[in-house]
Symmetry: C2
Subunit: 196 residues, 2 copies
DNA sequence: CTCTCTGGCATACGCATCGTATGTGAATTG
DNA sequence: CAATTCACATACGATGCGTATGCCAGAGAG
């Protein structure tokens, strides 16, 4: 029967994480005040420290949630594709587009690594990176592309995608820049597909 | 004759930037206290605010300095190579290795974008990115590689290199990981070299 | 049903740090 | 040599984090 206490607490955590997502996305982690943030959720800092330990803990919780959502979206995109190789390209296109969303870019890609360190050390294990690693591993196993270390390839491609997104986001004409970035990205990815 | 005032001021700025490089590299931008930092330079916050405006201004000055040094090092590596194409590969290998240096990784690659936003918008214009862009442009002009937008390619490769470095830096066995990363990197770069 | 106690959350405090406003003395200028 | 500028120090107010303490709803025992 879930227990009323536990149920209330889940709701509290949910409200805090939601408010934090908004605040962190809008102002950035450093500039987001815990007082404002908790007040917006109808609570106080007491609830925050009780549930998440400290400010970093809250950021971690927010990141875990966003990361899980991204991984699910990536998987969905990849599965819709006609061939595994196209699936990979589609996933990365989706990755770049997601990295344009302020919430994802600001929180997960900029503040996250700066505050919490290397993403692969996060408790969430970076589900999003795991998803792309898995896909590349499958391509290698099927013989669709020559052998390559899947994690290495996934990390490099993710890094390239992220920077492409930062570029597009800061650009004055996002449309033109996005297509240039995706062109270059395809060229790089094709380096994986061809035998050396 | 240079004026004693101006000369003293240059020295003050130098001392502050030097102290800031150490502090930012060791503790990260957010955790570095301006009081501690200026005291270590034998000054007070007064000097800092007078010369750099605010904490971000100091970070910007530090970044400009590091960025210029990196660009010079990259150019030197590239010019030593036997062919332009090898020059590009060598430059990126050097880039990854530089990105392993805590000062560069922490200040320029992690805190810089998080605090100041997209690097290409920095006043220093990101000399390091300009250098790699220039090199790729030359390769295209010489017909060494098929046409590609030089800035796009440079940005993606820089992004990939950065993430490779973060991975290596956080790894337990940096040696093995570095070689895996460089392998994967070479594969990606070769995507640029071959006609589609 | 009542009493007790656990624990989720609010309140209150101390501490650190940033940015500004003001003061001071050395270097410059006429 | 008097006046002024300006580089830097000092003093102050404000904000925000983390902790210690208090309070009250809900769970369990008899």
């Amino acid at each position: 029967m879930a227990g009323k206490r536990a149920q209330m607490m889940e709701e509290t955590r949910g409200k805090l994480v939601r408010a934090a997502r908004e605040a962190f996305a809008a102002k950035g982690y450093a500039a987001a005040s815990m007082d404002d943030l908790t007040a917006a959720a109808g609570l106080t800092r007491g609830a925050l420290y009780h549930n998440f330990g400290d400010k970093k803990g809250l950021l971690q919780a927010v990141i875990d949630q966003i990361d899980a959502e991204m991984a699910a979206r990536l998987r969905a995109v990849g599965e819709r594709a006609s061939t595994p190789w196209r699936g990979l390209l589609d996933e990365y296109r989706a990755y770049v587009e997601m990295a344009l969303e302020p919430e994802i870019q600001r929180i997960l890609l900029l503040d996250g690594p700066a505050v919490l360190g290397d993403p692969s050390r996060w408790p969430s294990q970076n589900a999003c990176l795991a998803e792309t690693t898995r896909r590349i591993r499958a391509l290698v196993a099927d013989g669709a592309i020559p052998p390559v270390d899947p994690e290495a390839a996934a990390r490099l491609l993710n890094g390239a995608s992220l920077h492409a997104a930062l570029w597009v986001a800061a650009s004055d004409e996002p449309g033109a820049v996005l297509s240039k970035a995706l062109d270059a990205f395809r060229r790089l990815a094709e380096g994986l597909a061809r035998p050396t």
